[in-house]
Structures are given as C-alpha cells and as structure tokens.
C-alpha cells in the first residue's frame, strides 16, 4: 500500500493555499544499487490531480526528474473553509493513492 498523501489546505483571504506532499520514492531508473551494481528500475508518479466539488482543479503530469517525496504548493480561488480537497496520484507501475483534506480557516 503506498504511503498516504499529506495535504494541508488553508484559506488565505480570497484564495486557498493547498500544500501537497506526495510520499513516493520517485526512482529515476538511472540509479544503481550500491551493493549489487544493478540498476534500480524507474518508479515514479506520472500523474496527479487535485479536485474539489467533484471538479478537477489541477492536472499534473510528472517525469522522473521530480524530487523524492515532492512537495507541491498551489493556490486556488473558489474554495471555502470546510470544503473537501481531494488529491489522487498514479505511478508508472499502476499503483494509486487518493486522500482528502478539509480546507481550514486561516
């Protein structure tokens, strides 16, 4: 089971800041195991979406060149404290994970 997504959404005046930490190894496929010398196969998030009110707000396509356990920060209008924000990712092995968080007042 993949690690949970850490999401923090905080209302900041008119807009909402959405911080997303995707816990994932993000292997490039270029790295070698120190002991065996074997290449570690690529394993990375290819796509994630941020949605609210059943509507996709952000669609992200990623490559191997995003850092391990990457943090993304977005800002959106049209959200209120109490709204649910959902983040879902899928990786190149077909693994998936989705989590939700509630928008907090500042």
């Amino acid at each position: 089971m993949p690690e949970p997504i850490k999401i923090r959404a905080v209302q900041q005046g008119e807009s909402t800041e959405i911080r997303i930490l995707l816990q994932h190894p993000m292997e490039t496929g270029l790295r070698r195991d120190q002991a065996s010398g074997q290449k570690i196969p690529a394993h990375f998030i290819t796509t994630f979406t941020v949605s609210a009110h059943g509507k996709v707000l952000i669609n992200a396509q990623l490559n191997t060149s995003i850092a391990r356990n990457p943090l993304f920060v977005f800002q959106s209008k049209g959200l209120q404290p109490g709204d649910r924000v959902r983040v879902a990712w899928s990786d190149n092995r077909g693994e998936q994970r989705a989590d939700e968080a509630t928008v907090a007042a500042a």
Partner: protein, 164 residues
C-alpha cells in the same frame, strides 16, 4: 553514463575538466539512455516526457516557437548544493494561463512537469526538481488562445541529482 550518474565524483570531475571530455560524457550518457527511454516511451506515451533533448521536448509540447516573456517569474536558488532537491516557484502573470510546463534544459529528460489549471486556480506553483547538473530551468506557459511563452533561469548545482 556510469561516470555521470553513479556518483563516481572523482572520475566525473576529471572528465568534466576538459570541455571535449565533457561532450564525450554527454554522448555516453545519451547512448546509455537510449534503452530506458525506449522502454518508457513504449509504456508511457505522454508527449514530451521521453524526449532526451530540449528541442525535442519543446517540439513535443508544441512550444518550439514560444515567445520570451517577462510576465513569467521563476524563483529558485542561485546555487543548489543538492541536485536531488531543487526548490522552484513559478508565477505566471500571462492572462488566461492554461498550463505551465517546467523543463530542466540539461537533464537527461528535460521535461520535468506539466501542470494544467482549471478556472479559479491561480497560475502559480511551487515544486521540487531533480537536476543532474547546472542548467537553465525553462518554463513554458500556454495561454487560452493557444500561444506559448517562455522564461528561463540559471541554477548552479554542486552535487548532481541524476543518481539520487
């Protein structure tokens, strides 16, 4: 390839000392990369992500003829000690920004991320990149009328994140 990407720093520095050798390292890296890139392309056909050069990647995302723009701000560090984690913030003031693509020009696969925004989402993002070596970060913004704009910024990397 191994010289560049497995953290053999002594050899790497030796090679990088001469520009001719550094070109050779690039060629080696490209040669070594051909195989995994093909595998990736086969199972994962998203355009631009498997491209191994900047012109190829720009062409694939339809931004070969983008106009340079001062309305895109790229914030990052001047020098990064760790190429495995380079923070980067992009803010677009281009009206009706639909999507933002982030490319690291000298990475084995330059296109790092492509983000599209629905109405109401501010056209800005903070993310964390891996950088194989010192390079320009190029951001391509697509506006609602289909036009593309770009801006770039140099980031120096002391320890490459290629093998990280």
């Amino acid at each position: 390839m191994s010289a560049r990407c497995t953290g053999n720093d002594r050899l790497r520095r030796l090679l990088i000392k001469s520009t001719a050798a550094s070109a050779a390292v690039g060629a080696l890296c490209a040669a070594g990369l051909l195989k995994p890139t093909r595998v990736l392309a086969a199972e994962w056909g998203r355009s631009g992500f498997a491209a191994t050069s900047l012109p190829e990647a720009l062409k694939a995302i339809g931004a070969a003829a983008s106009a340079e723009s001062g309305a895109i701000v790229i914030k990052s560090v001047e020098i990064s000690e760790n190429g495995a984690l380079v923070p980067c913030e992009v803010i677009s003031s281009i009206p009706d920004t639909q999507s933002i693509a982030v490319l690291v020009e000298r990475n084995p696969m330059p296109l790092a991320a492509s983000l599209s925004f629905a109405e109401g989402v501010l056209p800005r993002v903070r993310l964390q990149l891996k950088m194989a070596e010192s390079s320009r970060i190029r951001v391509v913004v697509r506006a609602g009328d289909g036009k593309t704009y770009h801006a770039s910024r140099e980031v120096r990397v002391t320890l490459g994140g290629c093998g990280a």
